[in-house]
Point group: C2
Chain length 201, copies 2
DNA sequence: AAACCATACGGAGGATGTCTCCGTTTTGTC
DNA sequence: GACAAAACGGAGACATCCTCCGTATGGTTT
């Protein structure tokens, strides 16, 4: 989880780097337990730093979230590459990628909300991240469209939002795990070209 | 917007009734302008009543929201009856009902969130409301399934959540009105039985 | 119409949370 | 070891939610 960018000018001071990493670790755990709306001051206290230190490193909740997701970036990128390398058809690959997105957006309780906001707000750290994944979604989607297994009028952005929405429905819907699955199938049938749809129970 | 239930014991005091109605009106306007997360204290002030008065009538944000939606209930119920009376096929009726739900959930910015929470939380004023509309959704869905135009494995609850999700995506997505439309089509194709799907440009 | 009391009002204030400011401390360099 | 730049910490300004309780008002009774 170190972020020591080599060669770039003079690196950050040692204590700053240490604190930053530690805050990130603490925040990851705290958000896991309390959802993304957990108190930032509480995170600072738990990490053993002053509130000022936390806010200097991460000016607001979104920045902290963005940093947290960047740390997880590697994982999702790896997944993307693994899916790319699969011998399966384009439709299956797209489906797997969307599944990965749903899982990614569900990393913390309540995460879909800021992600959706970021997706439409642009020009924010989170927005950049989302934009990148929309591009990837477009890549898989285009392949499926060329293959004839995905409707032509669908856009990557729409599927990305649909994945967020699925994750959003799953949040706090623990009483009914079916619903998330249902949304997934609904989406699956939604983008599939006629005749290739799968009831996906 | 009066809520004078006739015959039920001794009604509320006149000033209480007046305040309640006025708070409701003020809240409707305030939420329209600032979304459902607007400050409750600000609403009280704007309505010219003390905070205590607001909280006595509506113990929390959800209660206020529920009262606000109850006022709109009549409208949606009327729409439901109108759809029922239509000569169109069951699929078309289901589609129109889902459209109505999407519009309903978009009455205020940010409304889908508490609605989703209420849907999965049950036993809350909002939860009751949602439950009722899920039942209606089931009614329209069942007709479409009997007609053979809707997949058998879909449930009303899922479509209800999908409608909320669509409204959720639309929120703050003004930069891209397409997305909401896309989600709608995606869902439409998702529940339609094979062969009856419509690309819904 | 005056008195009575249940009902309702208002707004100060406790609790929690976000974020800023600035005096103090730490780090890296010379 | 001394110096300046970088970073720290936590008090406190400010916003919100919500409660508590002394005070005012409305309806009823005589």
């Amino acid at each position: 989880m170190s972020t020591t960018a080599p060669g770039k000018g003079r690196g950050p001071r040692a204590d700053a780097q240490r604190n930053r990493d530690h805050i990130l670790d603490t925040a990851a755990q705290y958000f896991s337990e309390h959802g993304v709306s957990g108190s930032l001051d509480a995170i600072a206290k738990k990490a053993g730093v002053g509130a000022g230190t936390l806010y200097r490193h991460f000016p607001n909740r979104e920045a902290l979230l963005a940093a947290l997701l960047t740390a997880r970036d590697e994982e999702l990128v790896k997944r993307r590459d693994a899916i790319r390398a699969e011998p399966a058809g384009a439709a299956s690959r797209l489906e797997q990628w969307l599944d990965a997105l749903i899982g990614w957006a569900g990393a913390f309780d309540g995460l879909p909300e800021p992600l959706r906001t970021a997706t439409t707000t642009e020009t924010s750290p989170l927005g950049m991240t989302c934009q990148g994944y929309i591009t990837t979604t477009d890549e898989f989607l285009l392949a499926a469209q060329k293959e004839g297994t995905a409707r032509a009028e669908v856009r990557g952005r729409d599927l990305f939002l649909a994945a967020l929405a699925t994750s959003w429905v799953r949040d706090a819907a623990m009483a009914d795990e079916f619903s998330a699955q249902a949304l997934k199938s609904l989406t699956r049938n939604g983008w599939a070209a006629s005749g290739t749809a799968d009831s996906g129970h």
